[in-house]
Assembly symmetry: C2
Homo-oligomer: 449 residues x 2
């Protein structure tokens, strides 16, 4: 059935695996190309990951940063969406294999399934220190952060209270900086009138980073600015600091310069260090046979046209791809890279199907990167330009809204943000999913007197 539903077999079938920035932009850019596009994702929505930290701190709701894929492709006649979990590839037979046993045929395959968090072999840390990749991660972190304040309010023992009011973010890249800054603001501003026993402003927020500076990929001057802003906002930054152990009650770190070990008593840890590629990269490489380069993170090497060497009909995009930039270094795992690769790959496919000459090699146009620190500060660099403070934050806001604009969320997100900004992020401060949905009260047992 799946083999016949996309029209005559003579039409070129493009199967795109992954509805993130890479896959989505590729599938959309094929709208006027005489191909049939099948977009497959495990979820039914496209997630705007850069704003997950807002959901994790109760500033935005999941629906503000997620756009249902079917809505996006509603009127793209040559595209269909399949919600399915891809479990492998039959490269020789040109099929994508899914968990429920279906095999979706392709002429051209685009794999863009992104990355997930990497615990450097310590997978047991995952439940203790959630990363921030999915909506469920974000609402789970939100639940833990808000619950910590709630429990502290009820807690008679000052030592336990202190532990509950200590938050550790591991990883000082943009995600970690954004999380730490927002948790600190939550404590010092948003929640400040909410409690009667505790003073939330006494909460301690630590940001632990292995490099000598936060946001190590940014220019030195911006690293300094970011550090200053974090200090102003109340975040303690520990640089040159590696995590050695995580338990439900504490994090043990090692200061790499002095080899000193320190233990931080905490019950809320957020992981924003280390990513690795989705396992589908390796599955694809294995399915091809030998000789495909896959790096330690699981990224699949692709050539200048975003396809695997020797397999021009197999494209890998975004965080899953290992592609060298103009400077010979691998392109970073950033949203704009995936978006541009997506559009580029669509261009390659379109020209090929139409019998036109191939475009030049892919060139990443680095329009700059940004990181926010709290509700009115950010750092941004674009080429030789660097700026920080409120101006950078407004630029960040504008750019993010413009990107979300395409999915009809723009007005709502803008209004929600204006609302949040003025009311200091109260609307989505919900603790949910503490108990599974059962439709039935779990039967609280009466307490002994």
């Amino acid at each position: 059935m799946t083999e016949n539903t996309t029209g005559t077999h003579s039409e070129h079938q493009v199967v795109v695996v992954g509805g993130g920035f890479g896959g989505l932009y590729c599938a959309q850019a094929l709208r006027s190309t005489p191909v049939k596009v099948t977009l497959i994702d495990r979820r039914n929505f496209h997630l705007f990951q850069p704003l997950l930290y807002q959901v994790a701190t109760g500033g935005l709701s999941p629906a503000n940063i997620a756009a249902p894929l079917r809505t996006i492709f509603n009127y793209q006649n040559n595209a269909r969406v399949l919600m399915a979990e891809v479990t492998g590839f039959d490269v020789a037979g040109k099929k994508v294999l899914t968990k429920d046993g279906a095999a979706i045929p392709f002429d051209t395959l685009v794999v863009a399934t992104g990355s997930t968090y990497h615990y450097f072999g310590k997978d047991e840390w995952a439940p203790l220190a959630p990363g921030l990749k999915t909506l469920e991660d974000a609402t789970e972190i939100r639940r833990r952060v808000l619950s910590a304040f709630e429990r502290a309010e009820r807690e008679p023992d000052p030592a336990v209270r202190k532990r509950l009011l200590t938050f550790v973010v591991v990883g000082g890249g943009p995600t970690g900086v954004e999380m730490a800054g927002t948790i600190s603001e939550l404590a010092r501003y948003t929640l400040r009138h909410d409690f009667r026993v505790i003073d939330p402003a006494t909460a301690r927020v630590l940001l632990v980073e292995g490099h000598p500076h936060v946001i190590p990929t940014f220019h030195e001057k911006l690293q300094k600015k970011a550090a200053e802003m974090l200090a102003t906002i109340g975040v303690e930054v520990w640089n040159n600091c590696h995590v050695e152990a995580i338990s439900p009650d504490a994090v043990t770190v090692c200061m790499s310069t002095t080899k000193e070990k320190r233990q931080i008593e905490t019950q809320t840890v957020v992981w924003a260090a280390g990513v690795k590629a989705s396992p589908l990269g390796k599955f694809l490489a294995d399915a091809i046979g030998g000789g495909i380069e896959v790096d330690r993170s699981g990224r699949v090497a692709v050539g200048p046209d975003c396809s695997i060497a020797g397999h021009p009909n197999l494209f890998v995009l975004g965080d899953l791809a290992l592609q060298k930039g103009a400077d010979g270094k691998p392109l970073p795992g950033l949203a704009p890279v995936a978006m541009q690769q997506g559009r580029y790959a669509a261009d390659v496919i379109r020209r090929r199907v139409k019998g036109e000459s191939a475009p030049g090699p892919f060139h990443y146009w680095d329009k700059g990167t940004m990181a926010t620190i709290g509700r009115s500060r950010a750092v941004a660099e674009a080429g030789p330009f660097r700026f920080s403070g409120l101006l950078a934050w407004l630029a960040w806001l504008f750019i993010h809204i413009m990107y979300l604009a395409q999915f009809s969320n723009r007005v709502l997100v803008l209004l929600q943000w204006i609302w949040n900004y003025m009311s200091r992020n109260r609307s989505a401060l919900l603790i949910t999913n503490e108990r599974p949905a059962q439709g039935f009260d779990q039967g609280v047992k009466p307490a002994a007197k």
Copy 2:
């Protein structure tokens, strides 16, 4: 610690258990009374339950209908909020007992913990047929409804596809009618361009009701109108119909007039029949000792001043209370009843603390009830007035927004609704929580070719 944090012991301590309509309105109405109020709830937010069905069908987000309790009580100086699970009462010692071992002292106790779904002894139906009482229930139903369409799109077997596209709502009261109508509209309008294989408009939505008519508590004329509107919107109504069995693949019903049994093949069942009171009613009655009337549903009998006979400092409100109305019948479990009882009980407490005379007996001012059927139709009755159609729907909209207004959600909910209305409910059509948040990819295994 909990005994000393609310000021001197000589101040009158009012403990309100439950942050729903009854408890919330009571606690708020005590703002100018010289008492200390402690509001305890298992959740950190007040939930506007009448709109849960909108979350369950992806029309609104959880944050649109939930207001964090701490935000509500931010500036009420005599009130504090405790997020805790109450497990019992020490009536003699005047303490409320919580799961983490704390004992919160009271001079006056107000218990308003509401109701939950009742499966008439068949608790095993609960995971198969979720009710609609909590946010998690709503997002779980949303997940099941949307996933059914997704799975049908991938399903090669027409019999299975038909089963996936059959939805059963059990219970034809306002909640059931609202759910069935909205699922039907979702299928016939909202999702109609979203799929390529299935035609969502062919989905079958059945509403199963034990009485001869839907909304049996409404006037006969409105029952007819509602039935007509449901038919227009594509809902099949089976009256005089009781559920005998629910399995993952089917629902078996018995037609009470003919004794005929029918089996409906379905994988999505929503429970909107039968409620029972929270177990805390019985715990309170047991804690008092003997002689307190508790009905079969678990509701605690209260006198004309909303307190338990012989215990003027113990109030029970809302769905948990069994109180006779002017006509001698028990007051219904509706939001306006709980709200009015909450304000009334606060008045009783205020006068008592100030040494003033007690107010007259509680009198429920029935301002009317409504039920919506889809996005532009409703039925409403207020005293001798009955109306239906678009006018009733606009009245419903206005009243609900006014109630939500108090929690600062008004502008946002209004805008979200306008947006939803114009875009036909797309924004929150997310399938979430299929996999628990782990911060770690679960390691998809490669499929055999």
